[in-house]
């Protein structure tokens, strides 16, 4: 029988470091079923019988955040054999608040007081023996970073788990409150084991709306609650919270001696400058510039070019030396396939379908890893919380977090790592909103489309590119305002009451581990959809009817492909947008492989074969087949609609839920359609004066849009996500 141990603690208390130290590389990272909360499990180093479950970092066991509900449902339903509660010794008062709640679950518990190395430096002291006596649980001192005391903590918790003795509570609240808790305990039925009754009783008194799901019979304690609320002139939830902190305050002076000379810590000194009224924004801009410059402009783009155009393209030169040319993977495979005399269609499937698809997955990984190093560093050192602090004022109006700034900034380079960067946002609602809106920012692959439209129809006018960014930002702002009022989002309460953790230097191994976990989860979870859709589109593009027979096509024969036929079917849908020709529809579809393909597809369809990146050769022909307004509508549609397959894969991975994935893709495409329709119809009305059914529809859509923007809404008071079944 394996021993299950739950690792529980506040965010920023060194829990991840301890988990990594305990389990080494024996880790499985996944998600709790149906929710985006990360689930980490691992086997103890040197003892494969012991499984450690890393619970999400939480401050409390309240029913209001996803992480807290996931954690407590696990503790109630799965009943681990013991809890290892990690506590930040430099911030013990607030950390003990969670401990008092964990102890009430009746599960054997060992407390590990972390960061004793820092305590030694500051001169503060924690008296372990006293803490042990006052709390009634075993306490060990550790430093997760240095590795001291970890073995002892693991040994103690395993021993306790084997003894199977339930926790004996020592802490107590004010006598009046204790009496009420006793009353409620007596009312709880025998479906709840004796040692857990206090936990359930307190949750019932707190009027916790999620606890009933865990009980067979729910006693009616309304009169007890009313009596208490009258007695204390406060709501019961607050009474209990007060009691916990009062108990902690009453023991803290005995258990800890603070160093009397108050020195400004290094962290305080850093914070004085970094979030200073005047320096904060310039420093923020500098940090963001550095992140962008390295992970998008320089190293990131070298990495992507190397992976996409080199390894999965025409080869690359080792150390940049011409004579050290290494061929691209497709060339090797093609040579191999030619050598064995492979059939044309199979060769095309392998090269243009499968290898191209795998390339689309792996091509983004190097750049992503560069970005993830930055993100892991910024998170671990404590600056990420300051990013939220500095930017909150701007972003919260649109239902986003201050941390949404980074995904959007990165998204202007490439949406794929941009979406993956949303992982740093803790709040579920803010994160989903960020995932849905990040790709509205024009990424570098959309630049050729902008250049094409600007060059072909607007004489290269300066304002086209900035207007594309304006459309993107406007789409984010409007989507944020509209979506936060919809049923899907109005769900969960999201108070911004956030800890600003002390700055500290992260370890190299933790940063690299976080980088690798995120990169790997992209490959694993986004890979399938990217590969499949690339193959399907390859089939649609490479096969078709020529001279009455079905077969494989040359690249120039795209106009005979199945996709072209599909284009004819789709074209009428885009007619109200002003570009109802099949070529446009086909170009928009090939843009799903990669947005810059739109230009290349036009090149083929207009009979030019290869064209320059901005498609200068076909400007004339494009201008002949589109009006300026229609061209702008085409541009807007391609900027806002579903992103490329790689980005869709990233969306799927980060949403971790089919319904939300399709909601995101559907929303983006419908929004793109509506905006493009309004651009074309209103644009035509203003420029040519045509007024028709389309104009009326456009006007109605605009009115509806404005209504959605200004309608009132009320933030919810309960967590709507159903997590009762989380095990």
């Amino acid at each position: 029988m394996a021993i299950k141990i739950a690792l529980a603690g506040n965010p920023n208390c060194g829990k991840t470091t301890l988990f990594n130290a305990l389990t080494g590389s024996n880790q499985f990272v996944g998600n709790w079923p149906g929710v985006t909360v990360e689930k980490k499990e691992g086997k103890l180093k040197g003892n494969k019988e012991v499984v450690i479950m890393d619970l999400p970092g939480i401050y409390s066991l309240s029913p209001y955040t996803l992480e807290e509900v996931v954690a407590r449902n696990y503790l109630i339903n799965e009943r681990p054999d013991a809890i290892l509660n990690i506590v930040d010794g430099t911030n013990i008062e607030r950390n003990l608040y969670l401990s008092t709640q964990l102890m009430e679950l009746g599960i054997p518990m060992v407390m590990a007081v972390n960061m004793i190395d820092i305590l030694e430096k500051t001169g503060d002291k924690i008296h372990i023996d006293k803490l042990c006596k006052k709390l009634g649980c075993e306490v060990v001192e550790i430093s997760a970073l240095k590795g001291t005391g970890i073995q002892k903590a693991a040994d103690r918790v395993i021993e306790l788990a084997k003894q199977k003795q339930s926790m004996k509570l020592v802490h107590a609240f004010a006598p009046e409150v204790e009496a009420r808790i006793e009353q409620v305990i007596d009312l709880i039925g025998n479906d709840i084991p004796e040692e857990q009754k206090r936990f359930f009783a307190i949750k019932l008194i707190e009027k916790d709306d999620k606890i009933a799901d865990q009980m067979k019979q729910v006693p009616d304690i309304q009169n007890i609650i009313s009596l208490m609320e009258k007695e204390f002139d406060d709501d019961t939830e607050s009474i209990i919270t007060n009691e916990r902190y009062d108990y902690i305050s009453s023991i803290i002076n005995e258990c800890c001696t603070k160093n009397k000379e108050k020195k400004l810590t290094t962290s305080d000194k850093i914070d004085r400058i970094v979030t200073n009224r005047w320096f904060a924004l310039p420093i923020f801009a500098a940090v963001m510039f550095l992140v962008y410059y390295v992970s998008v402009t320089t190293v990131g783009s070298w990495a992507t070019d190397w992976a996409n155009d080199g390894v999965f393209g025409e080869g690359w030169n080792l150390f940049g030396i011409n004579s050290l040319h290494i061929k691209g993977v497709p060339e090797y495979i093609e040579a191999g396939l030619n050598a064995i005399g492979c059939a044309d269609w199979l060769r095309s499937l392998i090269i243009d379908g499968i290898v191209a698809g795998v390339g689309a997955i792996l091509g983004f990984v190097p750049q992503m890893l560069v970005l993830f190093i930055f993100l892991a560093f910024l998170e671990a050192c404590g600056y990420m919380a300051r990013v939220a602090f500095i930017m909150d004022r701007i972003f919260r109006k649109f239902g986003l977090s201050g941390k949404s700034f980074i995904p959007m900034l990165i998204g202007s380079g490439c949406g794929v790592p941009g979406i993956m960067a949303s992982r740093t946002i803790e709040n579920d609602r803010d994160r989903k909103m960020t995932i849905m809106t990040t790709t509205f920012i024009p990424c570098s692959a959309k630049m050729p489309i902008i250049a094409l439209i600007a060059g072909a129809l607007f004489g290269g006018a300066w304002w086209v590119a900035p207007s594309a960014y304006f459309v993107g930002v406007a789409a984010i702002i409007c989507s944020g305002i509209i979506l936060k009022k919809t049923k899907m989002f109005a769900g969960d309460p999201a108070p911004f009451v956030m800890e600003l953790p002390a700055y500290h230097m992260p370890t190299v191994s933790n940063v690299l581990r976080s980088m690798w976990e995120r990169g790997w989860s992209f490959i694993k979870k986004a890979g399938t959809i990217i590969l499949l859709s690339t193959i399907i589109l390859w089939f649609l593009m490479s096969f078709g009817w020529v001279d009455g027979s079905f077969g494989m096509l040359e690249a120039e024969q795209l106009d005979s492909s199945i996709l072209a036929s599909l284009g004819n079917v789709l074209a009428p849908i885009f007619k109200p947008l002003g570009w109802g020709e099949w070529k446009m529809a086909v170009a928009a579809v090939t843009g799903l492989i990669a947005k810059e393909n739109v230009v290349g597809t036009f090149g083929i369809l207009f009979g030019f074969g290869e064209v320059a990146e901005d498609g200068a050769e076909i400007w004339g022909m494009l201008a002949g087949s589109l009006t300026a307004v229609a061209a702008y509508s085409f541009l807007v549609f391609n900027l806002l609609c579903a992103p490329c397959f790689a980005a869709m894969g990233a969306i799927k991975r980060e949403m971790n839920n089919k319904k939300w994935f399709w909601f995101a893709i559907g929303y983006q495409t419908i929004l793109a359609y509506v905006v493009a329709l309004c651009v074309y119809q209103i644009g035509t009305l203003l420029s040519v004066g045509t007024f028709g059914v389309g104009t009326v529809v456009a006007l109605l859509l605009i009115i509806g849009f404005i209504y959605l923007l200004v309608r009132p809404y009320q933030e919810s008071k309960t967590l709507k996500v159903n997590v009762a079944s989380v095990k």
Binding site: Y59, S62, Y97, E237, F389, D392
Partner: protein
């Protein structure tokens, strides 16, 4: 009646009462702002909101709208 919102930077105050109810109030209390605790207003974010306070020995940031729920002496 004075709330935490009105307290200027660099001042320490004692919490008298928390108004409101539900998730926001619970969260504020979970983070250690309870009756009788000492709160030091440390700084205001560069754009004027949120604020940063020191409570129970650590740094906490909260929005001014939420700070208005905290009555102080």
């Amino acid at each position: 009646m004075r709330t935490l919102r009105e307290v200027v930077c660099g001042q320490s105050v004692k919490v008298k009462k928390l108004t409101g109810e539900g998730p926001v109030k619970r969260r504020i209390m979970d983070m250690g702002i309870t009756k009788g605790v000492e709160v030091y207003v440390r700084k205001v974010a560069p754009l004027g909101d949120p604020i940063e306070v020191t409570v129970r020995g650590y740094e906490l940031s909260l929005r001014k709208a939420d700070a208005a729920m905290i009555e102080v002496e």
